[in-house]
Amino acid sequence: MGTFIQQIVNGLTVGGIYALIALGYTMVYGVMRLINFAHGDLCILGAFVGLTMLTGSAGGGHPGAALLLLAFVVSIIAIAVAGVVLERIAYRPLRKADRLAAVVSALGASLMIENGIMLVWGPQVHVFPSNLLPATTWHVAGATISFIQVMIILASLVLMAALYLFVNHTRFGTAIRAAAIDQDAARLMGINVNRVITSVFIIGPGLGAIGGLFIGIYYREAYFTMGWTYGLYAFIAAILGGIGNIPGAMLGGVLLGLFNAFAAGYVSSSWQDAITFGLLIVILLVRPTGLLGERVAEKV
């Protein structure tokens, strides 16, 4: 029983991180019908910016809670700015172009950010300080839960709930949803679609930066190629939940984390990806638009 609960905690922790990153994919796709392949790299860039804040200004001393908070704030702002710049440079000029052109541009942006990280921070594995968070652990029904796991799970839940409320219960959120349904109609209704797109490129990468920094703090290491791996997982989480659907990305992320934990824990780590993606195929066969994906109306 303890093992089972432990696997749930393991799954929820990574699932929360996947979900935070998946939100960036799904929001951009929802509004622009574009897969932002550079998103995973933006998240890891967030981890590196946070790392520089934590190690650069600490001067070897004990990085306190204030510094940790500052690292998150700086990282979120930096990555949101990077997201907006990315949209201006790599996606806006191609908005009217063929969709394939935008995908190629996204892949190019991904490689550019990845190699940019390598040039600035170097190719080796970077290690986060170990004393950022208290090493407290709790024992619940035979499972061991650490402070950081609780923090990641709680923070992702709160952030996802806040985003859900923002999109569904504010005027600007309504504008985002309207632009997602039909950009031209939204424009006719007086919605500034460019502002909506910019906001999506602030919120998505901002949440991604938090996810990236969580990865760094949880695993205490970061290297420049990490963005691709995590980006791929989060992208799959977004598809699993139904891309373009915000609660879907949250559900997809958490489910992917749990699938992975149970496959590795009860079958074999060698098979964890095969099992996880096998399940993904089965789900997509049954529900082609993902678990919570919109049902595409067919014109008869």
Binding site: T144, N260, A264
Partner: protein, 380 residues
């Protein structure tokens, strides 16, 4: 990313002016194939730095056979596909010998290319796969898996008397080979293996598989993979409240292991030949000091030194045979009775396997340094 850089940095301008200008003889080219970028970047950079240091030192003494040594580096990123590209590039550059690579997988992909071109390859790769074809160009410079597995089993079963041993490995050809050998030798020593599981290297999330192993309550967890994963496994064991002693194979001996594992690192056991700073031989002390003076840091692991031994042996072979002909060098290297290496005296058997390596089990200290536990170090 095809980056082949010709590095003449080791050969300082002053030296060139002093002796280089007088000689018209072309330089002797030595290749370095190593992961300069990627997960194992610090190991790869260590190998490249060591070879460049040795070349610069030799050139300062007038080079070899009156010719300068030129080092050509190729970054294989620790990837098999890139390793094959590197091998072709270095062969096209007409190198006499290649030092590296760090991982068995990358060495394995390059091995047949060097063998066909008759270029000597000396790598710390120890996977049994590397010996399968019996290429005469292959010279493993680290102790083979079989010897390490025997020592590991002896330490786990006869010295520490662990009752239940869990084994964890990644999917690399080196780590799976070592894990299989350890499992076989532990069973031969009448020890109990409670489980053998796999991780996906670089996937970071090892908690699920560790949770499974924790339920089996092993006394020791033996991990045969690399330090970047080993450090994380150690940290996640503590996070899960797992009490088993972490025992790591030789690829866990890297300064980054303790950095990644953080506070959890202390008390971990690593089995390998002694770390660079603990090597008792005067040549080794001199080399480590020179390395530190030049690069401002200690070598990242002992594999920097085993590859340096490969380079030193090749240089000695060239000097002794007064030639750079592959056949003469290979015969000389295979026939060496005992070579005073930085990592102890050794020789190569007919398969190109290193013989003669003193293994030790050492404990990681809270400050990240190592303390040899077994065999009990003798004074002096």
């Amino acid at each position: 990313m095809l980056r082949t850089s010709t590095i003449g940095l080791g050969v300082s301008v002053a030296l060139l002016a002093a002796s280089g200008a007088a000689h018209a003889a072309p330089p002797i080219k030595i290749g370095v194939q190593a992961p300069i970028t990627g997960t194992y970047a610090d190991e790869g950079q260590g190998i490249a730095r060591a070879v460049k240091l040795l070349a610069a030192q030799q050139n300062a003494k007038g080079g070899l056979l009156g010719r300068k040594i030129e080092v050509i580096t190729c970054d294989d990123q620790g990837e098999a596909a890139q390793a094959a590209i590197c091998a072709r590039q270095l062969v096209n550059d007409h190198v006499v010998a290649v030092i590296g690579s760090y991982t068995s997988g990358a060495a394995l992909a390059a091995e047949p290319i060097y063998a066909r071109a008759d270029v000597i390859q000396t790598s710390d790769g120890t996977s049994n796969e590397l010996l399968k074809h019996g290429y005469k160009t292959w010279f493993g410079n680290a102790a083979p898996n079989s010897a390490e597995a025997k020592f590991t089993a002896h330490y786990l079963v006869d010295v520490q008397h662990y009752k239940k041993i869990a084994v964890l490995t990644d999917h690399s050809s080196f780590a799976t080979g070592l894990a299989e050998a350890v499992v076989a030798d532990v069973k031969a020593a009448h020890g109990t293996i409670v489980d053998k599981s796999f991780i996906n290297a670089g996937s970071q999330n090892f908690s699920p598989v560790l949770t499974k192993l924790k339920a089996l309550q092993p006394d020791a967890l033996y991990f045969s993979g690399y330090y970047s994963d080993g450090g994380l496994i150690r940290a996640q064991m503590t996070q899960l409240g797992m009490k088993a002693t972490f025992v790591g194979g030789d690829a866990n001996q890297n300064v980054a292991f303790a950095k990644i594992a953080g506070a959890a690192a202390a008390g971990s056991i690593i089995i390998n030949v002694p770390a660079p700073a603990d090597l008792p031989y005067p040549v080794a002390k001199q080399f480590v000091a020179d390395y530190k003076t030049k690069y401002g840091a200690l070598p990242p692991s002992v594999f920097t030194l085993t590859n340096a031994d490969g380079m030193r042996a090749v240089m000695q072979a060239i000097a002794a045979t007064k030639s750079v002909k592959p056949a003469a060098l290979e015969t000389y290297l295979h026939g060496m009775k005992s070579f005073q290496g930085l990592t102890g005296t050794f020789a190569w058997n007919a398969k190109g396997e290193r013989t003669g390596s003193p293994f030790v089990a050492f404990e990681v200290q809270p400050d990240g340094s190592y303390k040899i536990l077994y065999p009990t170090p003798t004074a002096g």
